[in-house]
């Protein structure tokens, strides 16, 4: 019976979404309750399943035939192994807290019913990605994740900025999906299967089965992760996606959707060869660096967190590229918890500040919002990688991985660690410490329990997840011993320093430098001193290296230009000799064409027949 649990975990949110849309769209409270019940129910069912079967259930794949045509077999199934079960817990656990928080945050919105329906649809899609047993199933849910995030980012679609942001997010993801599906076709064409287990077995038996396509296939599949995990050069959608409600940012842009890319890389790790991994590692490292730089110059509390997310995702992707699936997934797990908490904390602040998001208009919130402040501080410490918080352990593993494999990337990663501490403490100093810079800040007060309880719940993994043996579990999945010997909590705390002291101490040192810099510049600062000191560099970084503008130009001179040419051709050439002149703009040509426009049907028919005959003649001549 309990093998049915994962099916329920997957489908409960879908039923919730459908039920809300069909019956309770107008009723905000009932909709919220249904949606919350579905995901929290999923969390407990996952726990029950783990109690019954442990992390490695006897049956690790259940399949149902979705479609079969000739040599194309597509199944719909559930993959049950430590990797997917861990992700189930992350998605339903962190997601559940965010759902509950949303009930408070969205309480006054008249369209909350639609909000919760979209949220449940998103949860369903994300769980589908996690549980997929094959490439096509994953691609299906991959796209569904894209569309549900489209709905959520564009929740306030009446605002032009939100409407543009959701479009941008979906289309940027589509670019990645284009590569992803191409890669899937390539893998299927070469190996004749889309099932992960079969593919892994094939590649294990014959590591060169993909032949000369190996690097290309790996990189194309990686394109999918570029889009979803917002890696350079497809990172541009994530900061804009902050136009969605803040809990959405916490769910999608911190804990789940953006993690899907990293999860996918780990799931199909067997497909990547050396050169592909090299590229992946460098893209990850580069994204981590530029995003951290951009984060230092943002003033919007959510955007700082968004760039920080980009940067941390870069860490994870880099770790995968350095063959460190365990560190990548470990950091993904801890990051999901503390970054979601940071976003929810930011949401709590925004809620209290009546939708003011500029940190320079806040200040002194420490006294006004003690719970939010404390949890936010815990999240910041975890993100910076201060022991004994969870982020310290996972980040240390990433740094160690880099230290052992690629010294240049290690240097970048350490620099990023410093920058991370710098921009996060800049945020803390400016928003929470010091004096009130605006009226709203002095009138702010703590959010209601429905919002603070999820914060406190998420504080648990933020602080303690480093001691839960997640890395041992993952090491089991990916074959290989855990990096840290397990012993008492104290042993565990010091094990990074014993095991790989250089990377641990360098990482901590970077954190220290970042903190000191932030304290020097921003403790009690009234305005930002950096723009004066750095001049144009500051502007350049603030404006995201003008990458968005560059892309806009690129699209205009390529894709849009092609559309323009096609349209002109269609108007004037392809349908040209029958064009009757569509209104004023056509006049010039219309005048010339008047000679042809006899108005007689026979003439037209004759001309047309002659044209067809000529074309046929050429085509026939060419074919033989």
């Amino acid at each position: 019976m309990s093998y049915a649990f994962p099916w329920f975990v997957l489908f409960l949110p879908l039923f919730a979404a459908v039920g809300i849309v069909l019956f309770t769209l107008k009723n905000r409270n009932v909709s919220a309750t249904i949606s919350i019940a579905a995901i929290v129910g999923g969390f407990f069912l996952t726990l029950l399943f783990l109690v019954n079967h442990g992390w490695t259930p006897g049956r690790n794949e259940v399949n149902w035939l979705w479609m079969v045509v000739g040599d194309l077999r597509i199944e719909f199934g559930l993959r049950l192994d430590p990797l997917s079960l861990l992700m189930l817990l992350v998605v339903t656990g962190v997601g559940g807290a965010i759902h509950i928080y949303s009930r408070g945050y969205m309480h006054d919105d008249p369209n909350a019913g639609r909000y919760f329906a979209s949220l449940s649809l998103f949860t369903f899609s994300m769980l589908g990605v996690v549980l997929s047993t094959n490439f096509v199933q994953m691609f299906i849910f991959w796209e569904l994740v894209g569309v549900s995030s489209y709905l959520l980012i564009g929740f306030w679609y009446a605002r032009p900025s939100a409407a543009d942001a959701c479009k941008k997010a979906f289309l940027t993801n589509r670019l990645g999906d284009f590569g992803f599906l191409w890669g899937i076709l390539m893998v299927w064409g070469a190996l004749g299967s889309v099932n992960f287990v079969e593919l892994e077995a094939t590649l294990k038996a014959n590591p060169v089965a993909l032949g000369s396509l190996a690097t290309a296939a790996g990189l194309l599949v990686f394109c999918g992760a570029l889009g979803k995990s917002a890696q350079f050069p497809l990172h541009v959608w994530l900061p804009d996606a902050m136009e969605g409600p803040t809990p959405v940012s916490a769910l999608i842009h911190a804990a789940t959707m953006v993690a899907a890319g990293v999860y996918m890389l780990c799931r199909v790790f067997f497909i990547f060869n050396g050169p592909a991994l090299e590229v992946i590692a460098w893209i990850g490292g580069f994204t981590a660096l530029i995003a951290a730089l951009m984060a230092t110059r943002q003033d919007d509390i959510k955007r700082i967190l968004a760039y920080s997310t980009l940067s941390q995702l870069g860490y994870m992707v880099m770790a995968v590229g350095l063959q460190g699936t365990v560190p990548a997934m470990y950091h993904l797990t801890t990051h999901a918890a503390f970054k979601a908490m940071l976003f929810l904390g930011a949401g709590s602040v925004i809620h209290a500040m009546h939708h003011e998001q500029n940190i320079w208009k806040m200040g002194g919130l420490r006294e006004r919002m003690p719970i939010t402040y404390r949890t936010f501080l815990l999240g910041t410490l975890a993100l910076c990688g201060v022991p004994p918080f969870s982020g310290f352990f996972s980040k240390d593993e990433v740094l160690t991985q880099a230290f052992e494999h690629n010294p240049v990337l290690f240097a970048i990663a350490t620099l990023v660690a410093m920058l991370t501490t710098f921009y996060m403490f800049r945020l803390v100093f400016v928003a929470f410490r010091g004096g009130h810079r605006a009226d709203a800040a002095s009138h702010a007060h703590e959010s209601p329990g429905v919002m603070t309880w999820p914060l406190m719940f998420l504080a648990i993994p933020t602080v303690f997840a480093g001691f839960w043996g997640i890395e041992t579990l993952l090491a089991h999945q990916f074959g290989g011993a855990a990096v840290h010997a397990s012993g008492s909590m104290l042993d565990h705390l010091f094990s990074p320093f014993n095991h790989a002291p250089a990377s641990a101490f360098l990482g901590l040192g970077a954190v220290g430098i970042g903190f000191l810099l932030a304290q020097r510049l921003y403790a009690n600062a009234e305005t930002d001193p950096l723009p004066e000191k750095l001049g144009w560099v500051s502007e350049f970084v603030r404006d995201r290296f003008y990458l968005d503008e560059l892309y806009a130009i690129l699209i205009r001179i390529t894709h849009d230009a092609l559309a323009q040419v096609s349209d002109a051709l269609d108007r004037w050439v392809v349908s040209g000799f029958l064009v009757k002149g569509t209104h004023g703009s056509v006049e010039l040509l219309g005048r010339g064409l008047r000679l042809l426009q006899t108005g007689s049907l026979q003439t037209y028919a004759l001309m047309f027949a002659v044209g067809v005959a000529a074309l046929l003649y050429f085509l026939l001549g060419g074919a033989q």
Binding site: N63, G70, E75, V147, A163
Partner: protein, 514 residues
């Protein structure tokens, strides 16, 4: 009598009854049209449910000899290729009748034409006799022209009628030449498609004759389906057509050309088909990329959807060009899915047009809060149009890509770009312009669809898309045996072994991996 005959007779009976009534009996006329198409739809659903997917040949066959000297007979039946199309056609016909409440003038004539068109369409797909196959298509085509001319909309109406009439007549004419040539070349004195196929596979038509006949069929049928560069009639025609006509033509009747290629041209002229696939695959890029780009530039919602509909035909052509089991199955899937989708989008835009009086996107904006039901269905339809999983279109398109990948990798990748990126761009831009953004004050009195018939048609069409999108085996298992036969017939001689039918059936059961 076969159920199929009843499916065809009911709308015919309706047409006769409407013709017998005086034109002032508006309610009775409309009721008759609705009732007969509804019964026909229910029968088609029953037929679909009763269809046995394990049988390869045609089912529910009925054959009544007509002109024995020429070998013409009334011969209907369904196999994997047309069962889904018949179901889709019957559903679209009923919803088209539902959406006809916009017609105010000359009701009697309108409904007679609509019902005749329905009979023609459904019969063309059900016919296994080459003569009736062609005859019924013409029977459906003529009402199309008249309806656009008389009840069409917009200033370009007359021009569009001219254009669509010329194009489609020429297309049909070319196809007719090809069909007659086949009849003459086989010398079998029969119009029975099944019989012809059997004869030809035993004793093929000479390679040279095939090479001459095939282009007639390819371009004749191609023009009917708006194969690039013979596509320009389609967007204009649909923009000018009354809602129900656009639904029936874009959704169902247009598929006749594709169906003809798969049913007649490829099995009867396999050698020529192989020679022409390169050309067809290149032309399909014209549909997918070029028309996709054109759609990106449209400011009129109807023209945008019209061009996107042309672009979607490219996927079917690509699937056909691959000449593989997977590709042909995918092509049939796209045909069915696109039928539902085209009907749905044209129904929605027709509704919108009647409410707002314009389909110029610049003048619309922020409509979603005003018409939440129609808006939500429209957004879903547009997402289905850019290949979102969950809708039947995705299943078809992705199957086509898998089928074409091994034969035309480069073209498949370009088509992939058209499906995922170009399609996404114009659909999302349309949603952004029409539904998102701040609400304009211009359309404050806009009313959502409240009439149960209107809602029912939207739900039926959207529901079908979702049903087959979630459970594609409902269609693919039925299509597979027939597609398998076609693929085997067109496979190069030395490897023509009908092995696939056996193996693909044997591996139906899911594999349990540990």
């Amino acid at each position: 009598m076969s159920t199929i005959t009843y499916i065809l007779l009911w709308p015919l009976l309706g047409a006769v009854c409407v013709a017998a009534l005086p034109g002032s009996f508006r309610f009775a006329i409309r009721s008759i049209a609705l009732a007969t198409t509804f019964i026909s739809m229910i029968l088609a659903i029953l037929l679909f449910v009763g269809f046995d997917a394990s049988v390869a040949g045609p089912q529910f066959v009925q054959k009544v000899p007509w002109v024995q000297a020429l070998g013409i007979s009334y011969h209907v039946g369904v196999d994997g290729l047309n069962i889904g199309l018949l179901l889709m056609g019957a559903i679209v016909a009923f919803t088209a009748a539902c959406m006809s409440s916009e017609i105010e003038t000359r009701l009697k004539e309108y409904y007679i034409l609509l019902l005749v068109m329905t009979v023609g369409i459904l019969s063309a797909f059900a016919s296994l006799d080459l003569f009736f196959f062609y005859f019924f298509h013409e029977l459906a085509l003529i009402p199309t022209f008249i309806m656009i001319g008389l009840w069409g909309r917009g200033e370009n109406r007359n021009y569009a009628t001219y254009k669509i009439t010329i194009y489609l007549s020429i297309g049909a004419l070319l196809a007719l030449i090809g069909l007659i040539s086949i009849y003459v070349q086989t010398g079998a004195r029969t119009f029975d498609i099944i019989e012809l196929t059997r004869l030809v596979s035993a004793k093929p038509i000479g390679a040279q004759s095939q090479g001459i006949i095939f282009p007639f069929l390819l371009f004749g049928f191609g023009i009917l389906v708006s194969l690039w560069p013979f596509h320009t009639w389609a967007p204009l025609g649909y923009a000018a057509a009354p809602t129900a006509t656009a639904m029936l033509h874009a959704g169902v009747l247009k598929k006749f050309g594709l169906y003809g290629l798969i049913r007649v041209a490829i099995p009867l002229l396999p050698d020529a088909a192989r020679d022409w696939t390169q050309v067809l695959a290149l032309l399909c890029l014209g549909n997918i990329l070029y028309c996709g780009f054109v759609a990106m530039r449209q400011k009129n919602l109807l023209l945008l959807i019209g061009n996107s509909s042309v672009a979607h035909m490219g996927f079917v052509f690509l699937g056909i060009a691959s000449l593989s089991l997977v590709g042909i199955t995918g092509a049939v899937l796209v045909m069915i899915a696109h039928g539902f989708l085209a009907a749905l989008t044209f129904a929605l835009i027709g509704f919108l047009h009647r409410q707002t009086g314009t389909v110029e996107m610049d003048r619309l904006g922020g409509l979603l809060p005003r018409i939440p039901f129609v808006g939500a269905v429209m957004i879903m339809a547009m997402l289905a149009g850019c290949g979102l999983p969950g809708f039947a279109n995705f299943v078809g398109e992705v199957t086509v890509f898998f089928g074409a990948w091994k034969v035309f990798p480069v073209i498949t990748v370009l088509a992939l770009w058209g499906a995922l990126v170009i399609g996404g761009v114009y659909m999302l831009r349309a949603i952004r312009t029409v539904f998102h953004g701040p609400a304009t004050t211009a359309f404050e009195s806009l009313k959502d669809a409240v009439h149960p018939l209107a809602r029912l048609s939207f739900v039926l069409l959207l529901g079908s898309l979702l049903l087959f999108g979630f459970f594609p085996r409902l269609l693919s298992d039925k299509i597979r045996p027939a597609a398998d036969q076609i693929a085997a017939m067109v496979a190069p001689r030395e490897t023509t072994a009908p092995v696939l039918a056996g193996t693909s059936a044997a591996t139906d059961e899911p594999i349990l991996r540990r």
